[in-house]
Symmetry: C2
Subunit: 472 residues, 2 copies
Amino acid sequence: MTKILETHTMIRLAVCIVIGAAIWLVPAPENVDQAGWHVLAVFVATLVSFLIKPLTMGPMVLLAIVFLSATGTLRFADALYGFGDTVVWLVVAAFLIAGSVAKTGLGRRIALAMVAKLGHTTLGLGYSAAVAELILAPFVPSNTARGGGVMAPIMNSLAHALDSKPDDNPERAGSYLMLVGAHSNLVTAAMFLTGMAGNVLVSRAAKDIFEVDFGWGTWLLGSIVPGLVTLAVLPYFLHRLVKPTMRDGRAAQQKAETELKSMGKLSQHELIMATVFALLLILWVSSPLHGLGTGVVALIGVSILILTGVQPWSETTGNSGAWDTLIWLGGLVSMAKALKDKGVIDWFANSVQVYVTGFDAVMVAVLLAVIYFYSMYAFSMLTGHIAAMAGAFFTIAIAAGSPPLLMIALFAYFSDLCGCTTNYSSGPVCIYYGLGYVKASHWYQTGFLVSLLHLGIWLSIGMGWWKILGWW
Amino acid sequence: MTKILETHTMIRLAVCIVIGAAIWLVPAPENVDQAGWHVLAVFVATLVSFLIKPLTMGPMVLLAIVFLSATGTLRFADALYGFGDTVVWLVVAAFLIAGSVAKTGLGRRIALAMVAKLGHTTLGLGYSAAVAELILAPFVPSNTARGGGVMAPIMNSLAHALDSKPDDNPERAGSYLMLVGAHSNLVTAAMFLTGMAGNVLVSRAAKDIFEVDFGWGTWLLGSIVPGLVTLAVLPYFLHRLVKPTMRDGRAAQQKAETELKSMGKLSQHELIMATVFALLLILWVSSPLHGLGTGVVALIGVSILILTGVQPWSETTGNSGAWDTLIWLGGLVSMAKALKDKGVIDWFANSVQVYVTGFDAVMVAVLLAVIYFYSMYAFSMLTGHIAAMAGAFFTIAIAAGSPPLLMIALFAYFSDLCGCTTNYSSGPVCIYYGLGYVKASHWYQTGFLVSLLHLGIWLSIGMGWWKILGWW
């Protein structure tokens, strides 16, 4: 008989269980439902599991809601609540669309075309990567699908074309291209509500706690100025930092042109995909006119892809990323709703109120946002970070009287920008780092300097822009 | 440019759309919400699509709920309601468990052991197939996974071992074995609430319309006597009908023994699977003691399989059958709930009341059940048949004053038994037929005689047993 569980898995599971049990056994504070307190214990244990990863997020969240149901802490129907949630299905639909973007080759074609147009120098290639990310971001709402699935393989093959390999001259171009790819992915993730799967959790928390609709259009309105400035500066900033030794990108440009040619004309499926893209963008942007929600629109896109055979049904049901996300995001939504319904969030807000009164309300928001940003060092997943911190910090901001829209904006964008800090913060970051061009220590140093760039831009230009918008 | 949709797909879609539009345009009857009437139109169009299959059930249901949301007929959250439904997640959990049963080889081992013990003659093999089905049925809650995934491949290899092939001596043993496999699968599907994925729809309709809990235990209580009698008679009945020319099954028995030996001892994963089986059965049966719902119990089983590595998370999220079912069953549940909430079901019940008054209440139930049974000829899917007819017929029975438990029992069991009529009624039937041993005309003739056997047993012994139970 072999061991059923690896020792390190068992130890990590035990850590989660001990932490959960410790909270569980503490009596619930006044005004907090005992069941609510128990949900909090399981929720914290689940968040700890995101950090130390005995298993991935999906199975841990499933275990959490099964445990909550089996102990009668939550009614089974309430534990399943999130699986019928509208934002959860927006993300599921996004994953389904991402599957077709990758499969039809349209995403790769767009990226190659950008490189062919802009790739004269490594700096040009850096900018072309940033622009490709920007163009793909509104359409490919999973930053992992976009950065890891579409862009990273292209960046890797570009480095190879420039005779720069992980073990042979990575500093020639490869390390620069990987860093540009990863960091611009996080910026575009921040710019769109649909730029990263977990962003909806911020939007949802904004709705739940501030009762503010921070939807697709509002999100972009706030990010457009500081986001474009960041994307304009970032490739140059990294170029100065990393100093790739090769400056001529014509080989890569050639390679992209050759690959583009070998792709031939737009296939019928790419054409349909492009049409669906256009339709989705039009419907998302025109939402105030027709009133269709973001999720319905995304599912209309999925329906068209299925009807036209671009996405056979077997690929829809076989898109395991979509169902993984349904489970962990759905389960988190169920737990977050229970925490709110059972008074835990209100209790937390009341508890911290005494600590933040007296500070300037705007200052509190900025301070909380910076703490939030650097707390990412302790998290292994952008979404886990959001789930753990955003709601709690929002309640502190409420207590301090911080301007809701300023607070939401800071947290919305910092939720993704903070991924610059480490090499394990998000799927595409892990992939770019894993390609092996950049040493861990180098990644951390660069990441810290990028974090200063982000704070510099978003706390000055960003806050100035939001002032103009009247958000504070 | 190739055609995006095949002509026959377009025609079939057009038929569904025309039928739906025709109903949509009729003004809603008095006391029926206009939106409810529109849901009915889309629901009927969806059911028509199950019959004529422009696409499979999953995409058609998805299109239906997207259409209902996009037109504002249903709120998006209401259209997604079924995806968080507890019975829907029971079925999803069942599919996940079925995946592990097949993968660990435990299901195959059980079937082989039965053949090795009972397979002296083709008649013995027939009985061994029926017993294997009976043993697997409570554990493998998808009749397609059980019949199509586990049993059919074994039956096929058994026929081969007996020198009976589709194009070479099928009458020697193959045609008999296929018919026994298919028809006993339908009987065991009928015997357990978890015997077939769609059975929960009957249980749900019983709850919605009669307010009767017809759960796992009650379902089995009603089926145990007539079900065992049917399984005891069926292999012999078919043997007399089909008259396989080979009577000695020792070769097959030998083959099963060899295969069993080559499987070696129970693997660790099989052992865990068997333990989970036992635990599920104990928890399902003891539900009145601890109060855990069927779905929670099933998810506890899934959690154990995931935790112990029997079912890696990638296989959970990669189980496309589970997610296909989530979508079509979830969407049907959303629509069925809307029909009820918006007064359509009540209107239907009131409308038919005038036609059934005057008849004997028990007679009405039996008559409805027989009509229900043979209406299966017009359906290509057991579940579609249930979804279309059970609720409506229940409302007629209410109007006629039929005993609820009698009516529910007749419909619960006939919902699966009626699959005997055609060679396209259910997944495993399609698979057994598709193996090619039995001609279509032969399948129909045999199926009709089996239907008479079923009606004979279940309307006499069955109704007698239910009388003893006090169900009417």
